[in-house]
């Protein structure tokens, strides 16, 4: 296994682009092929044959890089309140400091977020798989709150973009105060002067920073 710190920033950058292309369908940036050759990624065994497809090992390294990058963005945006655009830039720097152990700690602290501030999924780490939603988490899904409890919306983690959009277009945004009214038979919460009912599946995707 290659240790994170042995990858250069340039390598990490191009691996992330290849992964996004292969896994999420983003277009390849111009000049990708040249960079792959220049950095000798074929020789390192991360890219297959002479094409641009990642090998199994390359996929894994890239996946972890993406995970660190998006966790860094999440950390900056949610906890530091850094604007999205800057978060992106700082994240590029920060992700290199997130060695594997630290990334796990950050992920746990954030309550195992599933998407970055741009709405792209964060690949799961070992900690997410183990996490049986710890009670002490500062940030937890809406349906883990007690009825009557209040908090601030930390972020929305809906894998289907349409559902995420539904919250946003109704004017329910990260940073807004939210109060849980009840959990059964459906989840009811209050936001501003309105009440909303959602099913449990949607409620698990609203992450709330609890007042504690």
């Amino acid at each position: 296994m290659v240790h994170e710190n042995e990858i250069t920033e340039a390598e990490q950058e191009i691996l992330e682009r290849l992964w996004q292309h292969e896994v999420e369908g983003w277009p390849l940036p111009p000049g990708a092929e040249g960079e792959v050759v220049e950095l000798g990624l074929h020789a390192k065994g991360w890219v297959k044959g002479d094409g641009l497809r990642l090998s199994a090992g390359g996929l894994e390294v890239a996946r972890r890089a993406i995970r660190r990058h998006r966790l860094a963005e999440r950390l900056l945006a949610d906890l530091m309140g850094v604007e999205q655009e800057q978060a992106e830039e700082h994240a590029c720097v920060l992700e290199h400091s997130l060695v594997e152990g630290l990334a796990e700690k950050v992920c746990t602290f954030l309550g195992h977020p599933r998407v970055c501030p741009h709405g792209h999924p964060i690949p799961e780490g070992p900690c997410c798989k183990k996490a049986a939603a710890s009670v002490e988490a500062v940030i937890s899904p809406l349906d883990h709150m007690r009825p009557g409890e209040e908090g601030l919306i930390a972020y929305l983690a809906t894998p289907q973009n349409g559902d995420l959009q539904k919250f946003l277009s109704m004017g329910i945004h990260p940073g807004d105060p939210i109060a849980l009214v009840r959990k059964t038979p459906s989840v009811v919460f209050r936001c501003g002067h309105s009440q909303f009912a959602v099913d449990r599946e949607l409620a698990t995707q609203v992450y709330v920073r609890r007042h504690g």
Partner: protein, 660 residues
């Protein structure tokens, strides 16, 4: 009510007084359940259905209003949360305002201004005459919310009107503003992330007009009207979209953009909106808790069904009123008079039967429509309107969501399904509030198959009166078919599982005037829709009899009827059932009075007729909403299930030697 016009518009262009050819238009736009339809009624004097349920306006209402020196067309649009849309109702509204010209009135719920102002900013970007109507000011005052209307107007650069539309406050002010010249809104100060700004800037030379930012943004997000208007190449948009960080997929509304609008709206409101502190738990809120708690909510539902549906609609509407109209009004006055009249007017017996015969237009068509169907449907619509305006239905949706998930729907389907107990045809139209095509297909099918409308329920109760065991069996069988058909469809139809998300509007005391005009409007719609069918059915049956076709068709159905174990006379009722299920049931009603049928036969006949397609009107609406292919397929399946269940039921009951 305060009225504020924007100050110091920096030499902005004024909207042209005459809007080119044709009439000038006003579009009422806004979130669901903020009072657009009330405002529409107040402006035009005509009627759009208003309720305390998000998403009731599924059709676009158009009306006329006299404003200042001329006649304007007023258009009420289905509710939408944003111009960047997800649901079909929102798309209807968006396309309507994007593809047309005219003034826009954005109606908002004043106390929830922070949630609604982002849409105002989106509308400002369009660069069309815009007025912000702060409705529900009374509820805002109650919640301790303070809005500085003048500051808001200055900040946005558009006229802002305070309003309580249900009580007519602020309507006159709005009319005055609409009649005068309205300054075009300045481009709102919405700042997008720098990378998105760069992409927008890159499109600037390719888009004409002042609202280029608006069209560029919508083109980047892949909205059809913006793509048509700008004609930008797909490849370029793809590149720019990626560069802006909007994600690779086209047509997915972006969280980035929503966030930018939200942030800008909060900045605009900083000096103009002050939130109130929530006071003590009011009576209203305590009642709300009881409704949302399943332990108290379901008993309350049972009481509502018993009092509202059984006692009011069944016993009062279907019993007392029907008896009075049937026996007293028609039996003693109308029928003898009409018969005497036609005996005098029309000497030819064959022609006279068209009007006053066994199936005559007056003696059958008019009598069924007015004396039997109308009281039942009318009392149902009255009860439904009270429930609708109180805000109870969204709470019911919340309670039933889990059960509905099992049949491939979600809580939102409460409104079409409950409305179906009034009129399935009207309910099929409201399936549009469901988000996915899959849900709309399932709901349409279940309405057609297993939700008996109020007219049918009334007749079935009368038919099975005195056979309580048969009534219980009927209910169990129909409910069973409903659940089984739903579960099967949920498994068979592909598509993602629907997510349930619904705003719960505040509980409100229904206003008698609104309840009444809504009931009258629905009854009017029903009568126009249904009454002609009764006449047509009477005429067709008459023609069929005169020409000898009708008896032949009846003869052809007799074996089918016999297979169900029914007396051959019921073939006539079954044939009527094709025109309207309740028309068929009404036929059975006459048979029951003559004592031809026993309990088992009554049960088999009622179950079969309940599962039938309700009426021709429903068939036509299904075709309009779902298309020929789906409708014909559904009708075939329904016919098969109806006869299959009837046949099976008879076989079982006869084999078990059950008497009911």
């Amino acid at each position: 009510m305060a009225l504020t016009l924007p100050q110091g518009c920096h030499g902005q262009a004024q909207a042209p007084l005459t809007g080119g050819e044709g009439r000038r238009k006003v579009f009422l736009v806004g979130n669901p359940n903020v009072g657009k339809s009330v405002l529409f009624n107040a402006l035009t004097g005509s009627y759009a259905v208003v309720s305390n349920y998000p998403g009731t306006t599924v059709e676009v209402s158009r009306g006329s209003a006299e404003l200042g020196d001329g006649s304007w067309e007023v258009i009420d649009t289905p509710g939408m949360y944003s111009l960047r849309t997800i649901t079909e109702e929102e798309r209807v509204s968006r396309d309507l305002i994007l593809r047309d010209e005219g003034t826009i009135v954005h109606v908002v719920d004043a106390k929830n201004l922070p949630r609604m102002l982002p849409l105002t900013l989106e509308l400002c970007m369009m660069g069309r005459p815009l007025v912000l109507a702060l409705n529900l000011m009374d509820e805002a005052a109650q919640a301790g919310v303070k809005v500085d209307t003048r500051a808001l107007s200055v900040e946005l650069g558009i006229p802002v009107v305070e309003m309580v539309a249900t009580r007519g406050k602020g309507i006159q002010e709005l009319k005055t503003i609409l009649a005068g010249p309205i300054p075009l809104p300045p481009s709102p100060k919405v700042s997008f992330p720098p990378r998105l700004e760069e992409s927008l800037e890159a499109l600037r030379p390719r888009i004409s007009g002042d609202a280029w930012r608006f069209w560029a943004l919508h083109a980047l997000e892949g909205d059809a009207p913006a793509l048509e208007r700008t004609g930008l190449p797909d490849e370029l948009l793809r590149t720019l979209r990626t560069r802006a960080g909007l994600g690779p997929r086209r047509g997915a509304p972006s969280a980035l953009v929503a966030k930018s609008f939200h942030a800008s709206a909060q900045r605009v409101l900083a000096g103009a909106y002050k939130d109130g502190t929530r006071g003590k738990v009011a009576l209203q809120e305590r009642l709300d808790r009881l409704l949302l708690n399943p332990w108290t909510g379901f008993p309350i539902l049972a009481v509502i069904v018993y009092v509202g549906l059984y006692q009011f609609v069944g016993v009062f509407g279907g019993g007392t009123v029907v008896d009075f109209l049937e026996t007293t009004v028609f039996g003693h006055y109308v029928n003898p008079y009409v018969e005497a009249l036609f005996a005098h007017l029309v000497p030819w017996m064959w022609l006279r039967t068209l009007f006053v015969g066994d199936y005559g237009i007056f003696t059958l068509g008019l009598r069924y429509a007015i004396a039997i169907i109308l009281p039942i449907v009318g009392t149902f619509f009255l009860a439904f309107s009270v429930l609708e305006d109180s805000g109870y239905l969204p709470r019911l949706a919340m309670m039933l969501d889990r059960i509905f998930k099992a049949i491939g729907l979600n809580g939102r389907a409460v409104i079409p399904l409950v409305l179906g107990f009034g009129c399935d045809t009207m309910a099929t139209m409201t399936t549009r509030i469901l988000e996915t095509k899959r849900e709309r297909v399932i709901a349409t099918f279940l309405l057609a198959l297993a939700i008996p409308c109020s007219a049918q329920i009334g007749l079935l109760l009368a038919l099975l009166a005195g056979h309580p065991a048969a009534l219980a069996l009927w209910a169990a069988i129909v409910a069973g078919v409903f659940l089984m058909a739903g579960t099967l469809m949920a498994r068979l139809l592909p598509g993602r599982k629907p997510a349930f998300f619904m705003e719960l509007p505040p509980l409100r005391m229904p206003v008698l005037k609104n309840v009444w005009s809504k009931t009258v409007s629905r009854m009017g719609w029903y009568f126009l829709e249904v009454f002609p069918l009764f006449i047509v059915a009477s005429v067709m049956i008459w023609v069929g009899q005169i020409t000898g076709i009708f008896p032949k068709v009846v003869e052809a159905i007799v074996p089918l009827v016999k297979a169900l174990g029914l007396p051959s006379q019921t073939a006539v009722a079954i044939l009527f059932g094709f025109f309207r299920r309740d028309y068929g049931a009404a036929g059975l009603f006459d048979l029951r009075h003559s004592g031809v049928m026993n309990g088992v036969q009554l049960l088999v006949a009622t179950v079969t007729l309940t599962l039938f397609l309700p009426c021709i009107a429903q068939f036509l609406i299904m075709r309009k909403e779902r298309g020929w292919k789906v409708t014909l397929l559904m009708s075939g399946v329904i016919l098969f299930i109806a006869f299959g269940v009837g046949w099976g039921l008879n076989a079982v009951l006869v084999a078990a030697k059950v008497t009911l």
